[in-house]
């Protein structure tokens, strides 16, 4: 239900400035931002003292699992988890059952999203059934507002097919997003390749398998001029390759995940599959390189790769367990922590909202996408009211049983986080109030 709201006492974080201001919201839009402004009629007063008030977060990489994987997550539960994590929009990955590789499935997920707490943008598959054989009908899906295509879960293994996909996508003005892992190198590997994996007797999944596909796709993007987004980069060398390509003017963006900013491969020594993910947790040197790049503003987006799995997919031997971990509910605190838990908050909202909103082209409202609102804004009067109110002083302890996700596979159980989401407002609706989901 859309009500009038006033957010009092917070620090409003814009791209170019940070101001102490109240935000008045009426009819789903920001009415006014200023010091000690009058409350709109009947407005709910929200305390934001000590909080950073920014645009609602945008996740470029969410597995909502619906259709087909409803035991792990549904659009409804995933969006509730997202709301609790400060998100106003997520991009739903297409590795559902069936895959999102046709207008019919795109329309189904958009419709499910319209009933959810936050906006759901849909990514389509590059190839039919994500099988890496035949191009999916990208134009048909683009007509429903799909702007990102990916076979995520797997990379497109065939370089010739990826070249063709890029040539086709460029003409449509859409972005291809790649899960960079060359399967001839990654094979059946289940943790970072190296001496630790070898000691543990676990087959390795090398950084090389990622870097070779990063290098390949950068060359293909340069040759075609296609807009390329690289998903969940995890190694220092991938970062180096990407930054060099950007310097050269190649149209590429990339994301890193909170887990690749925080969790080292050593956690796999417990053989607890909650730490199994693709690409795998890497070395401390890789983490240090990614964190330094984040602080330096070189990372386009922190994206969660929120990957819910039911217990039976994880209560298995490490090499047989499903890869992936939850991310939505704690990404903001983990990103804030990776930034050193300091600063004025601008980088936090750059990597979690404004840049990902631009990459997913969610900065304008879209009728084609089922009336979705505009995200990643500047908190100016007249904008759609999508707000994330982050309290750096919170110290929540992660309790898997208390998660809104249908799944429990968080690698952060028992960890004390630095900061937490206090309120989330989507299209003017107060969907999270004092860290409690309102629907």
């Amino acid at each position: 239900m859309v009500e009038n709201l006033i957010v009092r006492g917070g620090t409003v974080v814009r791209s170019s400035e940070v101001v102490s201001a109240d935000v008045a919201i009426v009819d789903g839009r920001i009415l006014e931002v200023g010091s000690q402004i009058a409350a709109p009629t009947g407005a709910i007063e929200l305390d934001a003292t000590g909080c950073l008030v920014g645009p609602g977060l945008v996740d470029l990489h969410t597995h909502l699992r619906e259709p087909g994987g409803e035991e792990a997550e549904t659009v409804e539960t995933g969006c509730r988890a997202g709301a609790l994590g400060g998100y106003s929009a997520v991009v739903a990955m297409p590795n559902t059952i069936p895959a999102i590789d046709s207008a019919a499935v795109v329309a189904q997920v958009i419709a499910l999203g319209q009933a959810a707490a936050i906006d759901v943008a849909v990514a389509g598959a590059i190839t039919v059934g994500r099988a890496g054989q035949i191009l999916s009908p990208m134009a048909e899906m683009a007509s429903l507002g799909v702007t990102i295509f990916t076979d995520d879960g797997n990379g497109v293994q065939d370089a010739g097919l990826m070249l063709r996909a890029m040539q086709y996508a460029r003409g449509l003005g859409v972005t291809l997003a790649e899960h960079c892992e060359d399967e001839s190198l990654a094979g059946s590997g289940c943790m970072n390749a190296g001496s630790l994996a070898s000691r543990l007797g676990l087959p390795g999944r090398s950084g090389l398998s990622e870097e070779i596909m990063v290098a390949r796709d950068l060359a293909l993007a340069e040759a075609t001029g296609c807009s390329l987004h690289l998903l969940h980069l995890s190694t220092a060398r991938s970062l180096e390759l990407c930054l060099a390509a950007k310097a050269k003017g190649i149209d590429v963006t990339f994301e890193v995940t909170p887990h690749h900013l925080h969790l080292p491969e050593e956690l796999c020594a417990s053989y607890d599959p909650v730490f199994k993910v693709h690409p795998p947790l890497r070395t401390k040197a890789d983490i240090d390189a990614l964190v330094a790049a984040l602080i330096a503003g070189q990372i386009d987006a922190v994206a969660t790769d929120h990957a819910p799995h039911p217990a039976q997919a994880k209560d298995r031997p490490f090499d047989q367990a499903a890869p992936g971990m939850l991310g939505l509910e704690h990404a903001a605190a983990l990103t804030w922590e990776a930034l050193g838990a300091e600063g004025d908050g601008r980088m936090l909202f750059e990597v979690l909202s404004r840049r990902p909103a631009r990459i997913a082209r969610l900065t304008e409202a879209s009728e084609r996408r089922g009336g979705q609102s505009a995200h990643g804004g500047e908190l100016m009067a007249g904008e759609d009211a999508n707000l994330c109110i982050f309290d750096p002083s919170r110290r929540p302890i992660v309790d898997p049983a208390a998660l809104a996700s249908r799944s429990r596979n968080t690698p952060y159980a028992g960890r004390t986080l630095t900061g937490g989401i206090r309120h989330t407002i989507v299209r003017g609706e107060l969907i999270v109030r004092e860290s409690e989901a309102q629907r």
């Binding site: 390749a193 190296g194 001496s195 630790l196 994996a197 070898s198 000691r199 543990l200 007797g201 676990l202 087959p203 390795g204 417990s270 053989y271 607890d272 039976q312 209560d315 298995r316 031997p317 490490f318 090499d319 047989q320």
Partner: protein, 333 residues
Amino acid sequence: MSDLPVKSDVVGQHLLSISDLTIDALIEHLEVAEAFCEVERRSVRKVPTLKGKVVASLFFEESTRTRLSFETAAKRLSADVLSLAVASSSVKKGESLRDTVETIEAMGIDAVVIRHSSAGAPHQVARWMDRARVLNAGDGWHAHPTQALIDLFTVRQAIAAQEGRTSEGTGVSLLEGRRVLIIGDIRHSRVARSQIDAYVLAGADVSICAPGTLLPTGPADWPVTVVEDLDAALAEADIVSVLRMQEERGSGSFVPSLAEFTATYGMTDRRAALLRGDALITHPGPMVRGVEISSMVADDDRCLVRRQVSNGVPVRMAALFLALSTPEEGIRG
């Protein structure tokens, strides 16, 4: 058999990996195994030590000797043995590993002996158990701790015999400073990993030799020396561990052909002639004669394969006994 002293920090523990053992625990296993060798020489080869205890053997991967050896060891200690035939069990019907082992624990078992094709499965099972102790009978490429204990035990006995003394009570003194050379498919070998841990813990110098594709990843981080000149290393070795080529784990595709492997890294008659007269050869079995070891070498007096097999029972008796004892109990013979 008289009561044995038992150190409190080595009893009642899971046996998952040699890397979890202290030197005291390693020695305790060797010495308790010596004591159980005596049971093997009795007319009634059975002691009531674990009477009333239930040991479940869960072999999710094929095995002949390890399973028989563990089950024999449990029976010699008067434990009841439950044996899960995986091929006909609920595992085949899609039950998860967790449900399988929790169901079995609910039947009141005291120990689980587990073999699994996945590295780490015994560690996970140990986390899921409330009170049962878990003994790792081999997990993927990762560990085979009782095999390494058997190898050290057998080598210790053989060295003691060469010196005309008994091995009982010698701790690891007969192993300290010995040059151990492990040859063959180390990448896929749980035996090699456990041997490396055990020999290094015992104070031996461990070298490994294999084609580049069968070496472990990042060997510089391992507590071993990688040798390239196999013939030179053989001439200096005190103990040579020959590993099986694990074709079922795909090691065949890591070398151009088995014939080429035999020619370059096999324990052939020519290579055996390079060994010192008092050098010892171990092999975890089953041997593939003509591939990693020639038939003549397999039957050489210096080759300990058969003694390794017969020592399997007392060493696994020791492992079961130590895992199922409490500090208050000794061995009641």
